[in-house]
Homo-oligomer: 340 residues x 2
Amino acid sequence: MGDDVGFFEGVEKLMEIWFQEKSDQDDRGDAREITRQQWETILKSVNCEIIDEIKHDGHTAYLLSESSLFVSKNRIILKTCGTTLCLQALPHILKLSKTVCGFDGISDFFYSRKNFMKPDKQPHMHKSFQAEVEYLDKIIGGTSAAYCLGRLNGDCWFLYTLNDLPSQKNFGVKVPDQTLELLMVDLDREAMSQFCKLDKNGDPKSPAVFTENTGLADVFKGSKISAEFFDPCGFSLNGLIEKDFYWTIHVTPEPEFSYVSFETNAPRKNYSEVLDKIIKIFKPGRFAMTLFVNYLSTVDCSVWEERNGPHIAGYDCQDKQVARLQDYSLFYTNYKAGCS
Amino acid sequence: MGDDVGFFEGVEKLMEIWFQEKSDQDDRGDAREITRQQWETILKSVNCEIIDEIKHDGHTAYLLSESSLFVSKNRIILKTCGTTLCLQALPHILKLSKTVCGFDGISDFFYSRKNFMKPDKQPHMHKSFQAEVEYLDKIIGGTSAAYCLGRLNGDCWFLYTLNDLPSQKNFGVKVPDQTLELLMVDLDREAMSQFCKLDKNGDPKSPAVFTENTGLADVFKGSKISAEFFDPCGFSLNGLIEKDFYWTIHVTPEPEFSYVSFETNAPRKNYSEVLDKIIKIFKPGRFAMTLFVNYLSTVDCSVWEERNGPHIAGYDCQDKQVARLQDYSLFYTNYKAGCS
């Protein structure tokens, strides 16, 4: 993604903030009151910028120079890759949530990421998960819970969330919610070679046409899509579906550090069709998959409860863990291309 | 446990080694060939010593100055607390397993512990889980998997095990196996005050009589028991049941750093009765509970699969995680005394 000289860390820092929904009679508070200019100021401190913007059903998806930003009424999702300072946005967002949006406080919070390929290249606050936890604890206070799913000495995934805030009456997400994420590494070279800005003739490709041709547009048909290539390679896509459902894909195609992430909050009783499409397009050598499902969600978790998690043709489950969070169940799985 | 001056780390390092069972026709290999004298030499390098020994059904339980050692035909369990160098025993054991016992290699391996209260007081190799993983990787080789269950910023529990050894045909434990462990902290002061060497008159208590009176002997009735008090307080118990089933309890009663561990491999369809007895005797403020169950075990895991794990009267589940290991399912739960 824009770095043809050396290494680029595709692995994103992902922050999801939910704001307190007041009672039905009093639904003040709207994160969409934050203007694009205010976001641009915040993102400057993160070291990235807005390159595209789409709106759908009153929700906004910003495509960033390093990943994505989604803004709904009660929820902000900021996902940034490279050596960005994702968490640096938090104090600014919390301040604006009160002064501009009219919220009293946050109702839930999630910060997660896969283990970095090169943690030493990260800025100080992101060099280790411990450093991130210390930073977050200072800003958020309350009772936090920090987890590492997967292997400390292999592929793993870190999560910081809140827990037990009895003092805050409105704690917790009061709507059905689910998030599926695939964090893919060691991807097929041929599949990755498509994600270059120029075609064989040296002409710039149309992201819209490319999205149709690769089958990406079919992952969630009928989405409003914002997509861009990076120079000389790399690709990002934001999709907005009905309501506040989104999906997003970020591709770092260089074979030495190939990485692709896919994320959506669109509910599906069974994600097998979505997973099939994603896996077929990107052909990862290994991938971590996480699913958050809250107690109001309609997602059927039965295959995720099974010992080996959802069956993915051509892949073997290396690790599977299930964790109970405050209002969510969390499934973590790690797959490796195999002979099954 | 023998340290009345300052802090004592009750939290144990627990190492369980399974040796390759050959085919039925060829069941050479016996860990019980290691003599007491050889164990004494090994334990010297760990910084602890044998204080008692019992045998039952051909299996041996050694009570140590710092916890316990269990030796069965194909399995060695070494659990040591304080600032002992538990892992230092490993190269010695591996050497004797070939020269004395006649084994070709190990078939499975587990090293686990709760987070230490004071990691800085530990010797270098045990100062961090990362240091332990590095040490183990050097000695064991193969593909290891290192996990942290629970909260990185709170109560957590580390596990190092083996994974994917396709080159070793005899990898894996071929008999039904299960291990239940309770790691209790912040225990009731009155309950803890019993675990002193001297009675109210200043006379030494009989461990055997004490074991009966406290109800400890009832946890697994009919066990062969070896128990000792420490000076001025602290208590350890090894119990042997039929076959190679054992249970063990270690008590660090000092209120500033109270800690009690309970562990057994005895199969129970439902552990509720055992748990009730243990909780009633020790009254912990918080405890982590782990259950390993392999694919041959008859333990009914359905209550462990539930969102909040087994119901324990008077306690709230704070964390629950389920992890899939090579041949085992692993359940981790953390409970806090509450109002439920």
